[in-house]
């Protein structure tokens, strides 16, 4: 999200879900939408039914390829080169929106110079995509407006994810596809409330609404609001927290509703880190793999057992409502955190219900300033919503970017870090399947979903499988420099030669024992989408 925030001034989806179906062109890159966000997948298909052009950019065959006007199958990790080449074609063929560039954007020249490195020869060589397809994609995207860009973890979960996002922001600005219905740059967020968790300041460098902890005025404001002295130094990110815990610098962790022992890269390192801390508290609805390591486990209410709000990927704050009582003594997470705070003698945690917390959020958060429970009964509100009489904002950057002018960023291609070697000759990418969610904490408890898909499958190309004498259904071991897991092979040309694909839904085959924790230098997102592995048949 750091990339979009730098380019546009806001890190969130620029447009709304319902607009996607009315786009004239959809560019889906690094997103397996029909598996990970099925209802957005329906919107993409609706657009195609209405005549839209669909450009799919993905190393693996995904279901959306059935609907694609053109599918660009790039080598993993070469997105910047491919997008750079597409932009170069757009400029060379005079397809850019010059008026938009002149009036709404800045720093274009440096960006244009950086495109020098991305000629079609280089692009073909690095990405493996034939130049005709690069040209076709450039003409389709620039020539069919409005065009909407959708992306997800395939773009961001990389040691150069921020570069990828810069490239997409540049592409949209270059063609004036910003601030208009059915256009924009639209990161599709994974969890139900990952947008909201970011909005709420569950990030080491910002308070709610992305107010920077280093800003003295912001610090002063929160010190007044909360009645305490606050730090102006940003804290550590998730992956850094585990490293610090591993070193012994962090000694206590309060962990709510996550399962990093399965979800985070280099999982054995994470497990060791959590074992080393002197005190670990976990709040969850199940005794997860992570909760088993805790000193204290506190039972949480599920979404069906409480009131509150989620903010979806299109910035829409929506109400969830209590349907049933929580089991036993389980409590909503906010109640528990407040109870701990009060036991520690803190002031400012005397909330009686969730709506009172939202009132405080609205008081300290300009973009949520007009949000209150009584306004959310019909369809919710999309932020920014600064005042109670403000209707919310379905489309960002209309007439003016949040940061003023849209900023072009020069592009640099950085290869991913862990290239194949003789010892680890294949690349592993991670993804999701329709029937499960994240580490499977919820979906694997659902008998029917478990029946539809009950185990990990290592998808590999028939040529790679033949080389290793692996047949469909064989039990295989996948190993990286960090660890190894076992699962059955699925031989399919959905994966190109040299690339194997796994999910991380299944604890028995914990894929993140293999993955690389190397971070993007700006966004600090780990390189979950590519690491080097070897695959071997197990008797």
């Amino acid at each position: 999200m750091a990339g979009l925030a730098t380019s546009f001034g806001s890190g969130a989806m620029t447009n709304s879900i319902a607009e996607i179906g009315d786009a004239a062109c959809v560019l889906a890159i690094g997103t397996n939408t029909t598996e990970a966000h099925p209802i957005i997948g329906h919107q993409v298909k609706r657009a195609v039914r209405q005549g839209a052009k669909l450009i799919v950019i993905n190393p693996r065959w995904i279901d959306l390829c059935r609907f694609a006007t053109v599918w660009l199958r790039q080598q993993p990790g070469t997105d910047v080169v491919l997008l750079g080449a597409i932009m170069r074609v757009i400029l060379e063929e005079g397809l850019a929106d010059r008026a938009f560039l002149d009036e709404r954007c800045e720093d274009f020249e440096a960006f244009q110079r950086s495109l020098g490195a991305f000629d079609l020869d280089t692009a073909e060589k690095v990405t493996g995509v034939p130049r005709e397809k690069v040209r076709e994609a450039a003409r389709l995207y620039a020539g069919t407006r409005p065009a909407s860009i959708l992306y997800a973890m395939g773009i961001t979960q990389s040691s150069h994810g921020t570069d990828n996002v810069f490239a997409l922001a540049n592409l949209a600005m270059l063609t004036g596809n910003i601030g208009k219905p059915s256009s924009g740059v639209n990161p599709l967020r994974g969890h139900n409330n990952v947008q909201g968790s970011c909005d709420m300041g569950c990030l080491p460098n910002v308070y709610t609404g992305y107010q920077a902890v280093v800003d003295p005025a912001v610090k002063a404001k929160f010190e007044t609001a909360w009645g305490v002295a606050l730090k102006d130094k940003p804290g550590l990110t998730l992956t850094e927290i585990f490293s610090a815990a591993h070193r012994g610098d962090i000694k206590a962790i309060y962990l709510v509703g996550e399962n990093p022992v399965l979800s985070d890269p280099d999982a054995s390192h994470v497990r060791e880190a959590l074992e080393r801390v002197e005190f670990l508290v976990v709040q969850d609805i199940f005794l997860t793999e992570t909760a088993r390591l805790a000193d204290v486990v506190l039972p949480a209410a599920s979404f069906a057992e409480r009131d509150g709000t989620f903010t979806n990927t299109e910035r829409r704050v929506q109400r969830l409502r209590k349907a049933v009582e929580p089991p036993g003594q389980a409590r909503p997470d906010w109640w528990t955190t407040c109870a701990i705070a009060k036991k520690m003698g803190a002031k400012g945690f005397d909330f009686k219900e969730a709506s009172e917390i939202m009132s405080e959020i609205a008081r300290v958060t300009p973009s949520y300033g007009g949000v209150s429970f009584d306004r959310l009964d019909n369809g919710g509100i999309q932020w920014p919503c600064p005042a109670y009489d403000h209707p919310g904002t379905p489309i960002l950057h209309q007439g003016r970017f949040t940061r003023g002018k849209g900023r072009f960023t020069p592009l640099t291609y950085r290869a991913f870090l862990e290239q194949p070697s003789p010892q680890f000759p294949l690349l592993l990418t991670t993804g999701r399947v329709l029937y499960h969610f994240h580490t499977g904490t919820l979906t694997r408890k659902v008998e029917g979903l478990e029946k539809l898909r009950s185990e990990e499958l290592v998808e590999m190309n028939p040529a790679d499988a033949a080389n290793l004498a692996i047949k469909d259904g064989d039990l295989v071991e996948v190993a990286s420099v960090r660890g190894s897991v076992r699962a059955r092979a699925r031989v399919t040309d959905h994966s190109p030669e040299g690339l194997v694909a796994m999910t991380f839904h299944f604890a028995e085959s914990a894929t993140n024992l293999l993955t690389n924790p190397a971070l993007d230098p700006i966004a600090k997102i780990p390189e979950l989408k590519v690491c080097a592995v070897r695959v071997g048949k197990k008797p």
């Binding site: 409330n193 804290g235 005794l287 979404f303 069906a304 990927t313 329709l434």
Partner: protein, 343 residues
């Protein structure tokens, strides 16, 4: 919005341009029998139940396939209309199992509603019986083709709304039926189990395996992915027994995926944590809230500032996340707070 005004059964009806005569009538509260109509799908004209008389048009057009335009004069209740509807319903009933009392569609059956509206008081035609096995291969719903009325709402939903196309019509005439590719069980097809066919089936041919109907419904938001689909949880006692898409939601317009519709059993799962646990002698043991909170508060006090960290949750609501980061910053005194946004 452009409006059109037409006359239906002598009543002036005004509605948005582009709708069918059937929709204009239904919107105005005038019932015309129908089985294959679905507001999300293109008109199909399969069931021939929505026939009407329209001044200036020959024969009896299906009102779902005629666009409502200014000045149309429509009659829905003439004897010719009634005769066609009666025969159409009689043919359907002659080929339909009479297990209404125990059918899952009971209370909700489109065929019963049509038959009762048309005024069928006995089965006039010779009964026929289909010998189709029930397809129970899908974990969430049954498919009983003997009850199918061939309205194609399932086929069209799978094609037009979901874009999967797991089912289509096979064979012709009396042999015509809805089938997967190669007529294999659903579980062996490309079906994604979203259930959009099930919610559209007007009879008992596609029904959820879980029959319990809710005694009340609560409007909320799905807790799986970042799309945030609006849905109603159906509750009976203190148990969630059903899920229904919220058609008013600007996000999903009533659509749900397999996880949203059928993936909420974790709520009632026996493995749910029901009491705080505190580690004693190396093992996690049940404790009271007071004991657990005392341990947490006293231990956390030992690690003020940057010796501690809080990890929030992308699954938890905004209010909880707000309180967690406030706790980390204001009580623990650290900005070491993050969550899995990057994963």
């Amino acid at each position: 919005m452009d409006l059109v005004t037409l006359t239906i059964d002598g009543q002036k009806v005004t509605g948005p341009k582009g709708k069918s005569v059937l929709e204009a009538a239904l919107d105005a509260g005038i019932y015309i029998p129908n089985l294959c109509h679905d507001p999300d799908l293109k008109p199909f004209g399969a069931c021939r139940l929505c026939v009407v008389e329209i001044e200036g048009m020959r024969g009896l057009p299906a009102s779902c396939t005629v666009t409502a335009t200014d000045g149309l004069t429509v009659r829905t209740d003439g004897p010719k209309v009634h005769q066609v509807q009666k025969v159409a319903v009689e043919l359907l009933l002659a080929d339909h199992p009479m297990e209404c009392l125990t059918c899952a569609a009971s209370g909700n059956c489109g065929l019963l509603r049509v038959a009762s509206h048309v005024g069928i008081d006995h089965i006039r035609l010779k009964k026929t019986q289909r010998d189709y096995p029930i397809d129970d291969s899908n974990p969430f719903f049954y498919r009983d083709l003997a009850k199918c009325v061939l309205c194609a709402r399932c086929v069209r939903a799978c094609q037009e709304v979901v874009g999967v196309g797991a089912i289509d019509f096979a064979h012709r005439g009396y042999q015509r039926k809805v089938a997967t590719f190669g007529d294999r069980p659903l579980a062996e097809s490309r079906c994604e189990s979203c259930g959009e066919c099930v919610v559209r089936c007007p009879v008992g041919a596609l029904v959820p395996k879980r029959r319990a109907k809710p005694s009340r419904e609560v409007k909320t938001v799905c807790a799986y992915c970042g799309v945030g689909c609006g849905m109603y949880l159906g509750v009976r006692g203190n148990t969630v027994v059903s899920v229904r898409g919220d058609r008013q939601s600007p996000v999903n317009h009533g659509l749900l995926c397999v996880k949203g519709r059928f993936g909420n059993d974790f709520i009632n799962h026996p493995d749910r944590l029901t009491t705080p646990l505190v580690r004693k002698d190396g093992e996690l043991r049940p404790a009271t809230w007071d004991e657990a909170l005392d341990v947490v508060a006293s231990r956390l006090k030992e690690y003020p500032g940057d010796a501690s960290a809080a990890i929030a949750s992308a699954k938890a609501p905004n209010e909880d996340n707000y309180v967690i980061q406030k706790f980390a910053r204001a009580v623990m005194g650290t900005n070491n707070v993050d969550h899995c946004a990057r994963l």
